[in-house]
Amino acid sequence: MIPPMFKPELLSPAGSFDKLKAAVSYGADAVYLAGQQFGLRSAADNFTPDEMHEAVQFAHERGVKVYVTLNSFPFDRDMEGLSEFIRMISSAGVDGVIVSDLGVINVIARESQIPIHLSTQASCLNAEAGKLWKKMGVKRLILGREVSIQQAGQIKRETGLEVELFIHGSMCMAYSGNCTISNYTKGRDSNRGGCAQSCRFSYTLNYPEKESLENRFFMSSKDTLGVDLMPYFIKEQIDSVKVEGRMRSILYAGVLSKTYRAAIDLCTSNPTAFQQKLAHLNAELNSVPHREYMHANLMEAADHGSVLDTDSGRKGAHDEFAGVVRKAILNQYLLIEVRSAFKEGETLELIPFEGEVAPFQVKSILNSLGHTRLEQAKVNTLVRVPYVLGAEDGHLIRIKRSL
């Protein structure tokens, strides 16, 4: 019998400290981030040692766990400094490390007591593989993205390990870790942080004895969307549901965390209300930039229909990130750090950490010191707008563009 209150952990991306703050504030149970080495996102901001310590403190003070991605496939020369790095993150108090390489697992086990989570890059797809990784010291399996929710439940039961599945975001076309296109065509190791996204390019396909097919995104996968499958995640007691996207915006980290937080809480407390709210949750997930959504492999194997057709797949209009509330002075003003320009008279949406989004009209815009009236808030400036009821420091503001 399933414990009535089983709740999967909501694991959100934190590509920078600002994104971490957004994810934590909007409801993530845990965040994942990377240091400046050993991760798979060389282009991301990533965290310095000082930031790592600060990030862990910030998250822990709010009851949120921090996992560090160390999921590259390092060469010998890349292993230099790994022991020191492990000791550093151990002293910072991180709650887990996400690893795909057995050599890295060995070093972590030798240098620390940090729980090891096997990265999806290791493509663990079945229970027998899970049992082997368990012997290697792994505590949690972040299963390959080809694994369904039902199969993940079976793997959990057979291995006795925690399991984690991606519930949202972009996905590799290949079995994760089994793509080296960038390595050979761009000279950039995709498994050390240099993925050139070759699978997203348009190709001409030449079939023998058939006409060429031009402009085909034949390797470009649709994105995963699993919010409506939350009852299945809960039924199978999937320990952690993960949102992809360390490279995405602060708005993405916030909106995704808030939406999936609501989904988990509603689904576990009031399944009927969850079903009633689903259209709204989907609308929120449609408001961030994404490719066409699908269930990926969460229910059955993704195949025909899981690949984008004739365009790069950005789906519809999406909301723009107006900015972050740096200071909310009760009944006076909001000081906003502007990320997308907006004008006086425009309607924006304040996204509270909990509860409904609050639309408001920008009645006036003053410069950061409150001296000068402006017609427009420009990117990379601070502006003051009249106070909005319920606003707090750290709230995100968006410009509604999606339907």
Partner: protein, 385 residues
């Protein structure tokens, strides 16, 4: 150093035996990503291989979700350990299954995906123990690394010496997906080219396991045979199964015994694809990473105070103090580094909070307003000098 071939038929086996190959990969299409044999034929060919003096190797190299794994195990369970000299696996579930349930089987473990450091490879060898008769290493490892590892690992090492370079493996059927009138059932082939730089002539094969994408050029080390012979490798693999329409195996048969590089080069003149040595001499696929982001925006911990969040032209700068235990204060000498990399030093003479009140210091998390400085736009980093 033995040479390993792969066969799809009895004729292939005979060619390999005559050519001097010592070992042959036999792939049933249900268990092998390249194999095309029916399961019954696989068993027959294993028997024939032994009679021809070849070591037959059961190729079980697909990656498997739980249902696929369970189906495969049913088949594996009926194969007598006496029929094959070893089982070749990549999925670590298959590795574990053979270790656990088939104590008489020797195992060959494919470590061609990642596994680029000695620490990890050594651990795999220790885990496999005596049952692990060989490991297949990645074509991304340069010769210098192979040489070093061979001297430190007792498990024999195999590398690809001639054959296609697999660069993507997916369970999805990407070619039939583009053809509305074709079911994802049989084998489909195509080439894929993109106007984006070097993505031309990629060879794509779809079969029941999904889609395999190969580099336009094949991997070839066999013309370096003299150098390879000195390394102490356990085996070289020549895999020509995916070649189309020509009896390539017969044409290349000489490569299974060739000892001189120039002789190999002569045979390779008839090879139908361009070839490459890829990373055999050096692998610098991490060198471009520095270009992937603006290093000027990367924070350094030492002396970091915060960042400029607004630059009001000719008026003021607003600095967000971000570093814990750091602050802005009057008289402080700071260095501001712009996203373009230009650094300028200044001393803070005037310091206000965002409400324009003069303050003596601004602590972590707060905003401080200082005098304007040219060429310090938003996102400039602020360091204590």
């Amino acid at each position: 150093m033995i040479r390993v071939g792969a066969a799809n038929s009895l004729e292939d086996l005979k060619v390999l035996a005559r050519a001097g190959a010592r070992e042959v990969l036999l792939g049933a299409k249900i268990l092998s990503r390249y194999g095309s044999l029916e399961f019954s034929t696989l068993i027959e060919l294993a028997d024939s291989a032994k009679k021809l003096g070849l070591r037959p190797i059961l190729e079980w190299d697909i990656l498997m979700t739980q249902p696929e794994f369970e189906k495969a195990c049913v088949l594996i369970d009926v194969v007598s350990s006496k029929l094959f000299d070893a089982v070749r696996v990549q999925d670590v579930g298959a590795f574990e299954y053979v270790l656990r349930t088939r104590p008489e089987d020797s195992i060959q473990l494919i470590l061609e995906t990642g596994n680029h450091n000695f620490e990890g490879v050594k651990r795999w060898c220790e885990y496999g123990g005596k049952r692990l008769e060989r490991i297949m290493l990645s074509s991304q490892l340069p010769v210098s690394v192979l040489q070093e590892w061979i001297s430190k690992i007792s498990t024999p090492i195999e590398v690809l010496a001639l054959g296609p370079v697999l660069i993507l493996y997916t369970p999805r059927h990407l070619l039939s997906n583009q053809l509305p009138d074709v079911e994802a059932a049989g084998i489909l082939r195509a080439t894929a080219s993109s106007e984006e730089s070097f993505h031309s002539g990629l060879r794509v094969i779809e079969n029941q396991h999904g889609t395999l994408v190969f580099l336009g050029k094949d991997y070839c080390l066999i013309d370096q045979i003299e150098e390879l012979s000195t390394l102490g490798l356990g085996a070289l693999r020549i895999d020509l199964r995916l070649a189309e329409g020509v009896d390539l195996l017969s044409k290349m048969a000489g490569l299974f015994s060739v000892k001189k590089s120039d002789e190999a080069a002569l045979i390779l003149k008839n090879y139908p694809h361009e070839t490459t040595r890829c990373f055999f001499k050096a692998n610098n696929t991490d060198k471009a990473f520095v270009k992937l982001k603006n290093e000027n925006l990367a924070r350094e911990d030492h002396g970091f105070v915060g960042e400029v969040v607004e630059s009001a032209k000719d008026s003021y700068l607003v600095i967000h103090v971000r570093a814990k235990n750091q602050k802005l204060f009057k008289g402080q000498k700071i260095c501001l580094t712009s996203p373009e990399g230009q650094s300028q030093e200044m001393t803070i003479h005037s310091l206000r909070n965002i409400d324009s009140q003069e303050v003596s210091e601004v602590l972590c998390g707060d905003l401080g307003v200082i005098s304007y400085l040219k060429r310090c736009p938003a996102k400039s980093s602020v360091y204590q000098v």
